[in-house]
Assembly symmetry: C2
Homo-oligomer: 738 residues x 2
Amino acid sequence: MIIDNLFWIVPIASVIALAFAYHFFRQMMREDEGTDLMKKIAQHVRTGAMSYLKQQYKVVFIVFIVLMLLFVYLAFGLGVQNKWTPFAFLTGGFFSGLAGFFGMKTATYASARTANAAKNSLNHGLRVAFRSGAVMGLVVVGLAVLDISLWYLILNYFIDEPDSSHKLIIITTTMLTFGMGASTQALFARVGGGIYTKAADVGADLVGKVEAGIPEDDPRNPATIADNVGDNVGDVAGMGADLYESYAGSILATAALGATAFAATGVDMQYKAILAPMLIASVGIVLSILGIYMVRTKEGATMRDLLRSLGVGVNVSSALIAILTFVILYALGLQNWMGISFSVVTGLLAGIIIGLSTEYFTSHSYKPTRKISESAQTGPATVIISGVGLGMVSTAIPVITIAIAILIAFLSAINFDVKHMLDAQNIQLGLYGIGIAAVGMLSTLGITLATDAYGPIADNAGGNAEMSHLDPEVRKRTDALDALGNTTAATGKGFAIGSAALTALALLASYIEEIKIGLIRIGENVITLANGDTIDTAKATIVDFMNYYQVNLMNPVVLVGVFIGAMMAFLFSGLTMNAVGRAAQKMVEEVRRQFREIKGIMEGEAEPDYARCVAISTRGAQIEMILPSLLAIILPIVTGLVLGVAGVLGLLAGGLAAGFVLAIFMANSGGAWDNAKKYIEEGNFGGKGSNNHKAAIVGDTVGDPFKDTSGPSLNILIKLMSMVSIVMAGLTASFSIL
Amino acid sequence: MIIDNLFWIVPIASVIALAFAYHFFRQMMREDEGTDLMKKIAQHVRTGAMSYLKQQYKVVFIVFIVLMLLFVYLAFGLGVQNKWTPFAFLTGGFFSGLAGFFGMKTATYASARTANAAKNSLNHGLRVAFRSGAVMGLVVVGLAVLDISLWYLILNYFIDEPDSSHKLIIITTTMLTFGMGASTQALFARVGGGIYTKAADVGADLVGKVEAGIPEDDPRNPATIADNVGDNVGDVAGMGADLYESYAGSILATAALGATAFAATGVDMQYKAILAPMLIASVGIVLSILGIYMVRTKEGATMRDLLRSLGVGVNVSSALIAILTFVILYALGLQNWMGISFSVVTGLLAGIIIGLSTEYFTSHSYKPTRKISESAQTGPATVIISGVGLGMVSTAIPVITIAIAILIAFLSAINFDVKHMLDAQNIQLGLYGIGIAAVGMLSTLGITLATDAYGPIADNAGGNAEMSHLDPEVRKRTDALDALGNTTAATGKGFAIGSAALTALALLASYIEEIKIGLIRIGENVITLANGDTIDTAKATIVDFMNYYQVNLMNPVVLVGVFIGAMMAFLFSGLTMNAVGRAAQKMVEEVRRQFREIKGIMEGEAEPDYARCVAISTRGAQIEMILPSLLAIILPIVTGLVLGVAGVLGLLAGGLAAGFVLAIFMANSGGAWDNAKKYIEEGNFGGKGSNNHKAAIVGDTVGDPFKDTSGPSLNILIKLMSMVSIVMAGLTASFSIL
């Protein structure tokens, strides 16, 4: 069969991605790392980052072992789960961790090399930093697609189920388990890394910049190495794990939906529907590599040229994938290929609009952020008030965009059959459309992540340049690269949060599918609807299940679930905020102690104890990440056991909506505060060192945990809660109280 | 019929409430207003407050006229609405405004008198302030019950419907329209008043305390009169309109639910179910008066005695209403009177638990708030981070409490028939249980509002004492009263937000009822369910409608609604935050201008231009309140027209959940910042004037709009969106696109 051969495109694309990643890595490694001092500082950061990652993986390993034992018990002891669950869970976590590891390894090798290249020219600096970012982007997409193809082949070979349509459903839903593994790993990476980086950053700023009045990244500041390590463990390793999970999650969710939605159309079409998201992702990988090669500028390029150059790479990839999607789905012969292609494009467009909105609200080229700078004239309180106001107002465009995208992706996948849009079959197809919109949104992740990940590399290069006393011109160049990164990162964030919402929505349907499988497994072969009709569980549609469990908004259990879900988003953010506060406090005390006790530190005669600060951040992050992360795993399980299916769906919907809005609010407030400060530093409203600048720094410091700890962790929380619910559906189907 | 006579208890209770309110008002007016200077300052504040209220009512009047014309067109032109709608809407707004007016009138007369009484003793001061607060409490409950009984009598007389069961349904659902009037008025009062008071407060603090270094309420500060006016228009008039709406809303929602839930049991039981919430409220009024008389302390009482004395009043009223509820419902002969009484008690208990949780998180007697004070040592940024963290974490207990209360109130009302809890009839009864739990929670509003409203009076008395150069001992006493008020206000806030959630939940059922009436009105007499069955619209149950419109969580329209609802809560808060920021900015500029241009102002030789500041706050509030308030009215209408019934219910559920959690977060963060500052002022962590104190002031200033503008407005937003949807249901039923 031709489509059997089409599948092999997927692993091939993964090998291509990894090969190019290796190629770019070698290229970067061939660059000169600079002076001995530069090498030494880079080595410090590398050691700190690796020691953190080791510690982090140790803790996460224990969590994984405990959860795996639980899965083993549920699967082999109680018999309420699929037996592949424990292993799939483990590999998801492993690969996600690996993506973070490779990304960080690359970043820590690249920073000194970028600084050294920036000695030559802005352009050379960009090339080194961007190629290193590309390693990260390609490793993430390559590993994700590799993991997916491996599991697909393994399960296809081992699962013994004569009905091939049913077999495909079992394969795809089992694969969701490795999505849960990836989400769990990602949450720990984001929360732990986020706490680490912000504790170090806030600590370094509060004592260094505010109290001692020394510049950022000054080598006299004991927390400065920890701060640079933080950029790597939070912004690189954390983001890598996060986007690995988003990318794999969207493909897996869509494949699982495809298997059920097209079950009625025959096994052939089912197979095509599963293949579709994988093929779009695979072609996206190739286009991303093409795009990466298009990012090249002439010597002596201006900032504007650089930005345009990055934009060309991303835009060409996006435009090509939009066009090629039609070709792929047509060639595949997928039913309603045209409509589903439009769903993909809808997702892509929605991501771009959300990115533009993020840019508008957080870039100091526009009015909203400048208003915050202006409000600094009346002190830090008004900076905070206006930043919170801006962040809250900025949620409107992304939410309305995603709302419209949901409706269009849904309707497009069912050929705009509005009259029958809520028929069981159409709901499945429509949700498939929503899932594949998320795949479309992330299809060019290889390059968008490259433009995103090179930011922290440039940031670190700046730190290295500062600490190695390079010509101030070099720092200016790395700052320019960093600022450029901030702008492109805005788009990246739009894609991350938008795809999280779409994927989580699509996962709701997979949850019902797993509940159905769970019911059959425990022998509940017949369900009774509200009007008394009975129906075969195996034949019950998604609408029948809504009726059976009365998952409607008059059911108080659903409403209670929605309340708890909304609360969870806030509780989780509050816990991570507090964690940063506490960890930063410890850092502040340590830096103050060193300033006080180490003689000659301020004169640059004695070296501060960098390692101690690294150790404090590491320990703080490890202790603090446990509670919020475990809560995210435990709450859906407890909700399932107490409130049942209706409660869980309420929880997921409430958590999804509130979490999405809260995440945008926090990310945008934080981003705007950061840039409002930069705007003042550029000489507006009094410039650096003025009272207005001090007021703006307060906003920036508050914004740090907003945008780099709590905000991005919410993306993962939303999906992890869905994944946990899906994986634990067997338990809910068997034992819930209500 | 004996129960026909029972009804008369309701208007009689209202007359009693108003009579006692008048009595307490006269008592207060007989007190001496103090020196000429005191009188003059009080007169300033009175004039400012009244001129604000006049301006406010002018704007609101225009809005009401426009909305009324719309209703007239919908009812008489298009024929999609009940013809009583326009008039009921108008009176709801009128009475809500009246409650605010009387409360404010009393408060502005009471402040100087309280200051003067505090010259004698703490105890005398408490008596005057508390009795004045009692005027407010009794006016609110008295007017609400009066309005309800009047409309009940009018509609009963005029509505011409032979089927008396159906007639009761029409009467009660029509009465919800005046709930919408009250909500609209309340929203404007809260938003406008909230912006006014915080613009003045923030403006006065920023320039006065922070820049010029003069104490709070210093007569040299041009914004000080505006600040005191603000307490009256925001905390008194705004709160009065708000709680009028909560109180009336909970009774009306429950009555409407009662009419439909008991329709199957016969008109007699229906009538009893309508009467039940009114009777509980009426008896609660009498018990509140009893409780008010129990608040009396011996001369020379300590702070602790005073607190205990207030507590005794509230607790005795609460305990008695809990017991008497069983008696009332038993005497009424309401079906399952025992279970429904337990629902009432559940509500009462939930309110108390939420209040205690609020107190724990916002009082500086406990660890959380003290941690914020401690974090002031590392500057304003960590104050903000820890306050935001605290507020977010503090949402957990209230949400879990309300979740449990919802389930218990629901199950209790259906005799814990868990197996059949989702039968159509039981859902109606259960939602009635949730509604009456809200009534129970607010049953002792007469006294809880008194303990709440006397706080701003004491606050103003302090302002008056400061400006009239009274003995610092007097200011100390009024500060003690104010602090006492903060503690009791915490409980009051718990009741307000908790009842909002329960009422809004109960209103969901009324929405479906109105949709049903709307469908019948336009001749859609048959509906077709998902499985193809057709059913008489008139006989369709609430579950049938869920099925017909597929209001389940797999319907993308519902999910889109939930997203938009959650976004609305944030957008609304963001707009009000920005409004405060802008209005405060203008105030800051004006105060700076006066300091600069009026010679001798700082030496106390020239009088500042108070009136100009009052005018700026007034104008700012009027302009800024329009957009967020109109949005709250328009969004549900547009959602109904575009997304239909399923979208509206999603919107309401999402707005309710996210709004509830966001409101608690903002209120608690704000309260904790305020008290963290007070804790430092009491001499901890460096005390007044220290750097830590300055950092804490930043938190307090940020907290002002959190706790007094955006937070409390969300309570009303939640219900207003429900009310608008209900009132506009006819439009949605006729014209929606999806």
